[in-house]
């Protein structure tokens, strides 16, 4: 019998298994955190301003003839009705600031009607607890297409000033 105690038993070599390198966990630096926070606040502010904006649909139909002014009792939208070339119509929007903060008001008009609409007041400061009436005037030029409906949207942005 062999003396097992004194014998050194060689272990079979274990095959090396390639272990995937541990991914280094990305840690935000303080400056990154500050930038992220500022951007987050900025986007929340923009989101709020856009969401809070007064939105109006604006339309005008060009009627044949002269001196035709359509009547539209609706106040929910800036519908100027039917207008003939050379005619104009005015719609008013009352803007109320019920907060204790001043608001910067900016009006944006888009669409085919935007070239025809004139705004009485734009890019102004609205004082706290005050009201302002804004007039939207449409004038139909000589080159407007008869029977065409010019439409678009008007956005009224209110940006709080701290």
């Amino acid at each position: 019998m062999n003396d097992i105690k004194n014998q050194t038993i060689e272990k079979p070599e274990e095959p090396e298994i390639a272990t995937p390198e541990k991914k280094e966990k990305y840690r935000m630096r303080l400056s990154d955190k500050i930038i992220a926070a500022v951007l987050a606040v900025f986007f929340i502010c923009i989101f709020y301003i856009v969401l809070d904006a007064n939105k109006y649909r604006a339309t005008v139909r060009i009627a044949p003839g002269e001196g035709i002014v359509g009547i539209n009792p609706s106040t929910a939208s800036l519908d100027f009705g039917d207008l003939s070339r050379g005619a104009s119509a005015v719609r008013r929007v009352a803007l109320k600031n019920g907060t204790n903060l001043s608001m910067y008001v900016a009006i944006l008009k888009i669409g085919s009607i935007s070239d025809l609409v004139d705004i009485s007041k734009n890019n102004f400061k609205l004082k706290p607890r005050s009201e302002e009436k804004i007039e939207f005037t449409v004038f139909v030029p000589a080159s407007a297409e008869i029977d065409k409906t010019y439409s678009g949207r008007v956005y009224l942005f209110k940006i709080p000033i701290f």
């Binding site: 070339r85 050379g86 070239d115 030029p141 000589a142 080159s143 407007a144």
Partner: protein, 142 residues
């Protein structure tokens, strides 16, 4: 060596850009045969062909080449400004123009007051939207 090459390429890029910016008006002036090759639209009198804030190109033109319907630029003697309107009538000594969006014709214009004709593309004046506003803003800042 690689860094020098990089700097050289940046230098060439900026030099090219500067030449382009400063030489463009001169080149346009030569190509379009007019001392005022560009104009910004400041009113809606030519709506919808030309809109406020557009930038248009002007080409020099001889009096005999003018025809009714051309959009021309002329020096307004009353207030010493430029006006861009369409030719409505051609007479022996005067031209009558009218803005497309206007209801009335302009006062007669002398042939020598015509600066040029709007450069057209497919029979429509070539316009660069909003670029006119930028040039107006830039000239206001000077």
């Amino acid at each position: 060596m690689a860094t020098n090459k990089k700097y050289l390429s940046w230098f060439i890029y900026f030099a090219g850009l500067a030449i382009l910016i400063f030489a463009l008006p001169k080149l346009l002036s030569l190509g379009l045969r007019t001392p005022s090759p560009m104009a910004a639209i400041t009113s809606g009198s030519m709506w919808p062909v030309l809109k406020q804030g557009d930038l248009i190109f002007i080409q020099g033109i001889g009096a005999k080449d003018l025809k009714i319907g051309d959009v021309v630029v002329y020096r307004n003697q009353i207030n010493n400004t430029f006006t861009i309107h369409r030719i409505a009538k051609l007479e022996k000594e005067f031209i009558t123009t009218k803005g497309d969006a206007n209801f009335q014709e302009d006062p007669p214009v002398r042939y020598e007051d015509i600066v040029g004709r709007a450069l057209t593309l497919s029979n429509k004046p070539l316009r660069l939207p909003y670029l006119g506003s930028i040039t107006m803003l830039a000239s206001g800042l000077k």
